[in-house]
Symmetry: C2
Subunit: 234 residues, 2 copies
């Protein structure tokens, strides 16, 4: 099995088979948390306006701009907040700066798509190994179009739970995972520093909880501009 990691999102990327999108600080961690809280589905919107359009239809609306909950949203982009949210049986729609956008980029070509974080690292790796035919790919959401040490570390953690033939990006992610303690890789990242600046350092500690969830948000279908994730049957 070919194992590939794209460490920076860019428009021309193509994913022929399975792709795991990683935005560990925080969108893909928070999507797992909403499913843990009992959300029926998690929808990724392409932008805030499109997310808010679902509010009258009974959706909980979650996301961030510059780290913080945007006006009119029910929730921010925090995994602890999501875990405690009263969303059992309800659908949630999310719109964030990096993670939901990266998922839309991957969805343009992927045959199978799911969301991975440290919380569901082993479960996501097992799902990918089960589903893949020729390639397991990771797409890091990164930080505003650039490289993120946090996502690269989380990809390395998932790769460490997989077998296969890693190419350049995957080998680099493994080196990051093996080279730094989780706390160092995540707290030194630009993403963590930006959260700290808006008073959300607690969320960085929260995303570190390796393998706390067995749930994998898997792309089930599209509804217009939305990507609809349901929990995997793993």
């Amino acid at each position: 099995m070919r194992v590939r990691a794209e460490l920076i999102p860019r428009p021309g990327l193509r994913f022929p088979d399975v792709v795991l999108v990683v935005d560990v600080i925080r969108a893909t961690t928070t999507a797992v948390a909403f499913l843990e809280a009992g959300a029926r589905e998690v929808w990724f919107a392409p932008d805030h306006e499109t997310a808010l359009a679902l509010k009258p239809k009974g959706f909980a609306v979650a996301g961030e701009s510059q780290g913080l909950k945007p006006p009119g949203f029910d929730f921010g982009n925090g995994p602890l907040e999501a875990l405690a949210a009263q969303v059992a049986g309800r659908p949630v729609v999310m719109s964030t700066t990096n993670g939901t956008r990266a998922a839309h980029l991957a969805a343009r070509s992927a045959r199978r798509l799911a969301l991975a974080s440290l919380w569901n690292r082993a479960a996501a790796a097992a799902w990918a190994a089960r589903e893949a035919q020729v390639e397991i790919a990771f797409l890091a959401a990164g930080k505003e179009g650039g490289f993120g040490l946090d996502d690269t570390y989380a990809i390395g953690a998932a790769l460490d739970a997989l077998t296969g033939e890693p190419e350049d990006g995957a080998l680099a992610a493994l080196a990051v995972f093996r080279g730094y303690p989780a706390e160092v890789a995540l707290t030194r990242s630009k993403a963590a520093q930006a959260l700290k600046e808006v008073g959300l350092a607690e969320d960085v500690r929260a995303v570190l909880d390796l393998d706390r969830s067995r749930l994998v948000p898997v792309l089930d279908r599209r509804e217009g501009p939305y990507l609809v994730f349901t929990r995997s049957a793993l």
Copy 2:
């Protein structure tokens, strides 16, 4: 001092201060080799046609398409070939797929620009430390717009010879440098595999020769569409 590594070239990148461009397999190694062979200057052309335009003016023309010497060129893109080339006192113009293009990208904004490889790792790091005011940045040429383990390793090697505050990309490059032996990082890279396929595996071994040169090709000036590199006065 801020220490930054851009591991994939992309159009929007800006470099406010010092930038070292790295295409270890092979353009920035070969540029050092031409200076070692006595070339008076090394010019980087934006494309092959622009490179060939200098041939009637006494330039040696070097470069590659898909790893091999293009029609009409005097030399390929190999460091051993460059080292043995009869170019003493002459100018050389180069055009390659990744390295010369990355240098043109960096030159759009950089205050000071030089070329780094494993051959001149310590010398390039010392030059950057001397010249930088607020930031030392590295730009990896990568492989056709993507991430290259080889360039990331070489950047890590140079970072290991510097002090400063590394951000996300620089921390990842350090992990790659510390996590893999040079032979592993370079021979497993896509760039090395592509060279092997065209019969140039010897060049991969050649670029590994850490700190064999004290020469740093430094951007001296522009001449129309060309970047003109001279050896540093270090």
